[in-house]
Amino acid sequence: MKFITAYAHLKENICAVNGEMICRRDKDSGDSWFKQIYKQQEFVYPKFHKMDVLSQAGFLTSKLIKRANPQFAEKYKDDEIAMLFANQSGSAETDQKFVHAYRNGAPSPSLFVYTLPNIVMGEIAILNKWYGESLFAVLPEFDPEFYINHCHILLSAGSEAVLCSWLEIAGNQIDVFTFLIEKEGENRSEFTADNLSKIAFAGNLHKTEINANY
């Protein structure tokens, strides 16, 4: 058996951990939405400000999951935590910025670095000193079966836990759902396609409710 032992949603206006909203976007703030969460949660990692949006989203949700489940990182060896990320648009958001920069004669090396979607996993590996496996797939849509099948492969090939994420950011649309899969997890949701869909979708419900309140 495998379990979903923690999860975080990051949408256009809300950020929630294990279904509990922890931060709501302040539309009047001069800070970007992700920076608002960073400040409000009192994270200290100056490199955050250099990251592209995908890496920032991965940083925030992985930090929140670790905070919600503090023992987890200590339970495993540094090469036993794998990462399995996916989205629909790859790094398109940063690609556009880079194209703009080099058309204007000044290709920015730091932008180019982030025109690879898998850099977010590299940032999380650097942050935590994790040496496990990592895989980034580009899929037509969020697909629970993809995570079920590939976690099965990873967990039967030496990994003990998998940090998974669907992180889709395109223009103003933000759909980030990060979740942790472990082999043991008391009183936690079993890792089935049904449960994963329900939890993923709960974030969308959340969004609709919040939007309706405005």
């Binding site: 540094d78 090469d79 990462m83 629909q88 648009s89 790859g90 398109a92 690609d95 880079f98 194209v99 080099y102 058309r103 290709p107 920015s108 090396p109 180019f112 670095v113 982030y114 025109t115 690879l116 979607p117 898998n118 850099i119 977010v120 996993m121 590299g122 940032e123 590996a125 650097i126 935590n128 000193k129 994790w130 040496y131 496990g132 496996e133 990592s134 895989l135 980034f136 797939a137 580009v138 899929l139 037509p140 099948n149 590939h150 099965h152 492969i153 039967s156 090939a157 030496g158």
Partner: protein
């Protein structure tokens, strides 16, 4: 445990087919030459595929109006590897393709046309998505069961092969076409220039004087089949994939760690999985991009794994240029060819070993020694490191 490889296909700067690539490798003939894009007069050294889009498109017989160069290159290599495989309702077939630029070449054309106010067709942007390259190739070949696109920078091709092998081992698929494709684009050339790791001269992997990489373009695919699929196809086994592993370097977004931690882990775990002892590795097809950082880090990792018994090694990127997401697949095909033809390829443009490690790659084609097992390395930005072990036995 091992997986059978029953088909290979490759398109690169040194040839449009497996046979053409093999011939160039045997003749130590590089495909890296002065190159410029049509809309730009800057000339630089690159491993371009010697075929234009209209020629590739005509040959592909595709009906699509817009099709990226990345897709066209991929389709050609995929067709060669897939052969005349027939659909069969009892054989579960999949395709996993890796790409880093996707349809960027088309998007660049669109962008220029859009800015000029000329005939920019928004339908062109439909090819931008990395996933669209795989879906187009799958559609042209009639594969519909399992379609996946990987994007983990320069290790993508190796990761596609590794994932395919695992899906066969887990019994999820009976046969799977795995590989990668990437076309040359302004985007990547500007990017590597901005990182100041684009060599203006011919790239010199593992040489003390190396200054960076030359980009290349290309595609390669391998057909992996289980016994059941082979009973239907009757395909001959060309070689076996025996070991695979992926590890994070957890050091820097683009730079490899000085101690080569991720690379060391990937090689050790892949060799361990293969059940082949390090001393039985006949040849290593190194990642060897020609950048100061990669080649030193990889050399250190090689000595971590093999001590003072580092097997014969070379980087064939000195022939093809660095084909990014296709590299792992192109070099996997070269590894299979090394085993089939008992060849160890030279590392061209090498003269002086790296001071810190003193390692010397093979510089002249070796055709007289048996080649039973080959280790192939692919390391990507993001610290995503993969190694594969191929051999002539299960």
């Amino acid at each position: 445990m091992s997986v059978r490889i029953t088909g290979i296909g490759v398109v690169s700067a040194i040839g449009l087919s497996v046979q053409e690539n093999l011939l160039a490798l045997k003749e130590s003939r590089t495909g890296i030459m002065p190159f410029s894009f049509l809309d730009d007069d800057k000339i630089f050294l690159a491993g371009a595929v010697k075929a234009t889009n209209p020629v590739l498109k005509k040959e592909s017989k595709t009906q699509s109006q817009f099709i990226s160069r990345t897709t066209l290159l991929g389709l050609k290599a995929a067709r060669e590897a897939y052969g005349n495989a027939k659909q069969h309702n009892q054989i579960r077939t999949g395709i996993i393709s890796a790409t880093s630029v996707g349809g960027m070449d088309q998007s660049e054309q669109f962008y220029n046309a859009y800015l000029d106010g000329t005939d920019a067709d928004f339908a062109m942007l439909g090819t931008h998505d990395s996933g669209s390259t795989t879906e187009r190739i799958a559609a042209e070949l009639g594969i519909s069961g399992y379609i996946n696109t990987l994007s983990t920078a320069c290790s993508s091709g190796a990761n596609a092969i590794m994932l395919g092998a695992r899906l066969l081992m887990q019994g999820k698929l009976d046969r799977v076409l795995v590989g990668g494709t990437d076309a040359l684009t302004n985007f990547t050339v500007n990017g590597f220039r901005s990182l100041m790791i684009y060599d203006e001269q011919w790239c010199r992997p593992f040489d003390e004087s190396r200054e960076g990489l030359n980009l290349g373009e290309g595609a390669a695919f391998l057909l992996l089949e289980n016994e059941k699929s082979i009973r239907f196809s009757g395909n001959r086994t060309l070689a076996f994939l025996n070991g695979w592993a992926n590890a994070a370097d957890a050091f820097h977004q683009t730079a490899s760690s000085p101690e080569g931690k991720g690379a060391t882990l990937a090689m050790q775990k892949a060799i361990e999985k293969s059940g082949i002892s390090p001393s039985q590795i006949s040849y290593i097809n190194a990642h060897g991009t020609g950048t100061k950082n990669n080649d030193l880090s990889e050399s250190v990792a090689l000595t971590n794994v093999f001590g003072d018994q580092v097997p014969a090694f070379s980087s064939t990127k000195s022939f093809t240029g660095h084909t990014l997401a296709a590299a792992g697949a192109v070099e996997a095909v070269f590894s299979v060819l090394a085993i089939q033809n008992q060849l160890i390829y030279p590392n061209i443009n090498f003269s002086t070993p790296i001071t810190e490690t003193g390692l010397e790659p093979v510089t002249i084609l070796q055709a007289e020694k048996p080649v039973h097992a080959v280790l192939s390395n692919s390391f990507g930005f993001g610290g995503n490191n993969s190694s594969l072990v191929f051999s002539d036995h299960a």
